[in-house]
């Protein structure tokens, strides 16, 4: 009896400690981001508190066509193209790696995910020298290709993980019922691993949308992406417009995450909590 009650007391302390720890972690992660947001509404032109007054001038500034909106469109265009490519190639690679076990399979996986492990500056340098030789420097194609390579590992990893939980018996069932391999993929495999693909695609998108190092090496001013522009802004004229843009991006990213979560819950409901 006594033993039992001390146990629960211990458990209670542990639970309080755990909650405090989690709360503090969240605070340290999120507070710096939130702390900067008010400055985007500053009427002054420095990144500092206290703010002289309230103003929407920096939002007005970042919603001007040049340079902000133009680079935003560049970023979106590049990120969307890179995402489509990375998702398609990554999904096919993951599927192939799951259904066939061949010698050297581990090596292939290692090569595919190497952009995640190799320091980005090394990747960027490599890409720079290679693209210089083949004439892809300062082109959208070049930047899209580089970002595809950076995003594909996320797709491969998430789709591989999703396929682990996918019942391969369903593929056999489908083909025994007369479906050709592509029809099976379209009607059975794809719908069931779609959540994994979507997660991978989201990571690929964010990777490209956030990417600055490769853009620094490869992009000429015509392909400047948003992060590249912000980077330039940090160096040249540091004013709250960067914070205003960051705030918009935070909103945008949060929105994507919320939509993803809603989609995930929906599929989970359809699948009856499998």
């Amino acid at each position: 009896m006594a033993n039992n009650s001390t146990r629960t007391a211990q458990e209670r302390i542990a639970s309080v400690l755990l909650k405090a720890f989690v709360g503090m972690t969240c605070f340290f992660l999120i507070f710096p981001i939130l702390a900067i947001i008010p400055i985007s509404f500053s009427s002054g032109s420095f990144l500092s508190y206290p703010m002289p007054g309230f103003s929407l001038q920096w939002y007005e500034a970042v919603l001007q066509p040049f340079p902000w909106l133009e680079t935003l469109w560049n970023s979106l265009f590049i990120a969307i193209c890179a995402t489509v490519l990375a998702t398609t190639l990554g999904t096919l690679a993951a599927y192939g790696l799951t259904v066939s076990r061949f010698p050297g399979r581990g090596l292939v996986i290692a090569i595919i995910i190497s952009p995640l492990i190799v320091p980005i500056i090394v990747v960027a340098l490599g890409v720079y020298f290679f693209f210089a030789r083949v004439g892809l420097l300062g082109t959208f194609t070049g930047l899209i290709m580089a970002h595809t390579a950076l995003g594909a590992p996320f797709v491969v990893i998430t789709v591989l993980a999703t396929l682990q939980g996918f019942d391969m018996q369903l593929v056999r069932a489908s083909s025994s019922l007369g479906a050709k391999p592509m029809a099976t993929f379209r009607q059975v495999t794809f719908p069931l691993i779609a959540p994994g693909i979507a997660t991978g695609a989201l990571f690929a998108f964010i990777t490209s949308f956030d990417e600055v190092v490769v853009a620094l090496f490869v992009a000429s001013p015509a392909q400047f992406t948003l992060p590249r522009q912000m980077f330039a802004g940090l160096r040249d004229q540091l004013d709250p417009s960067i914070v205003a843009m960051s705030t918009l991006l935070i909103l945008f990213t949060s929105l994507i995450l919320i939509v993803m979560e809603l989609l995930r819950r929906r599929t989970q409901r359809i699948m009856g909590g499998r």
Binding site: D167, Q169, L170, R172, A173, S174, S175, S176, L177, G178, A179, K180, P181, A183, Q187, V188, P191, L192, I270, M271, G272, G273, R274
Partner: protein
């Protein structure tokens, strides 16, 4: 009973060899003919290669040697989706993102059947398995038995030439399993389709099959109608795997025509049918079903064995006696006597059986002896 004798086989396995790793032979020189409309059961212990043979027929596994024929044509390089066979998996393998109706319509959709016909045929198939009201449900909202029935409907709706079932009832409880056995048997009679059924449940095999193929170690030991498999096993493995059997091991001391005499370890002699042509001096084992073992208080014939009742177990419709017989292990007898007439424990008796009920087969190997 169908007349199967003079129709051409629909499926033929010829000298099938199969190895997964190039080292261990899972199937060895296996031959099997399956007749049109037949219900054939592959029965055998776990790992004996039953599923492997079924998956070869379905096209999911390639043979290492030999050939598979469907209606006399080689199937070896035909992919699964062109084989027109229905497969029912042990795990059901229903598509979780499709409703029951969509699952059943799926094979028809792949064949480009017109929409109206798909609806009508899916409806009919659902009706056959008594699942009409469940068409809009998702598979996860069904019980195991219901899921199994949907899997069945999905496999018959396109009228495949052969239906393959790999332990389709393994996951169901006993009562439901018996009900589904009857339903599958009924479907088979209605449709007349050839069915190849895999199980390791011998009573399932005995009740459902036209013929049973008993597997062990990648070989078919015996194939025949259930009554033949049960009453006339051709080796000790089959005798022990199907139903209960008493084993009396010994050495052949005399042989005349169909009969022979066996001397057991303790010197007692018994006689029975010489099934495998054993010769004097060979080691052998006589198999006797418990229901053929007769108990008497006096020695009524010369070859009766002395025994002692060590257990009396009441089973409702019959009584099971456990007997201690010098020279043999784990001997049991079945009696239809009423409980009030049962022999008491500790009773000394004589056991014997009709000559033709004792089958002299190959000597037991270690594993079977222990079983």
């Amino acid at each position: 009973m169908r007349d199967l004798a003079d129709t051409a086989p629909i499926v033929q396995f010829r000298g099938i060899d199969k190895t997964y790793d190039g080292d261990v032979n899972i199937l060895e020189k296996l031959d099997l003919d399956i007749q049109q409309g037949e219900f054939v059961t592959l029965l055998g212990p776990s790992g004996s290669g039953k599923s492997t043979l079924l998956m070869i027929l379905a096209g999911f596994e390639e043979v290492t040697g030999g050939e598979v024929l469907l209606n006399g044509e080689r199937l070896n390089n035909v992919p699964p989706h062109k084989r027109n066979m229905g497969v029912v998996f042990q795990s059901y393998a229903l598509f979780p993102h499709m409703s029951v109706r969509q699952n059943v319509a799926y094979p028809l959709k792949q064949r480009g059947v017109p929409k109206a016909e798909i609806d009508a045929r899916a409806e009919k198939a659902l009706d056959m398995i008594h699942m009409k009201e469940f068409g809009e449900r998702m598979p996860t909202q069904l019980s195991g038995g219901q899921q199994q029935r949907v899997a069945l409907a999905r496999a018959i709706v396109y009228q495949p030439e052969v239906i393959l079932m790999d332990e389709p009832l393994g996951a169901l409880d006993k009562k439901l399993r018996e009900k589904m056995q009857i339903e599958i048997k009924h479907l088979h009679e209605q449709l007349g389709t050839t069915i190849v059924f895999v199980t390791h449940d011998q009573s399932e095999a005995l009740t459902m099959s036209d013929r049973i193929a008993v597997f062990n170690d990648g070989k078919i030991l015996q194939i025949g109608p259930p009554s033949e498999i049960y009453e006339a096993p051709n080796c000790s493995f089959v005798a022990n795997f199907i139903g209960e059997t008493n084993n009396f091991s010994g050495q052949v001391t005399a042989q005349s025509g169909d009969a022979c005499t066996l001397r057991m370890a303790n010197g007692a002699e018994i006689s029975g049918q010489n099934i495998l042509g054993a010769r004097v001096g060979d080691a052998a084992c006589m198999a006797v079903r418990p229901e053929h073992v007769k108990l008497d208080l006096e020695q009524v014939c010369s070859h009766a064995l002395k025994a002692k009742v060590t257990g009396v177990i009441y089973h409702g419709d019959h009584i099971r006696y456990e007997l201690d017989v010098p020279g043999a292990r784990d001997v049991t007898a079945r009696s239809n006597a009423h409980m009030q007439d049962a022999l008491p424990e500790g009773q000394e008796v004589y056991i014997h059986w009709d000559m033709d009920k004792g089958r002299v087969l190959d000597p037991l190997s270690g594993a079977e002896g222990a079983a």
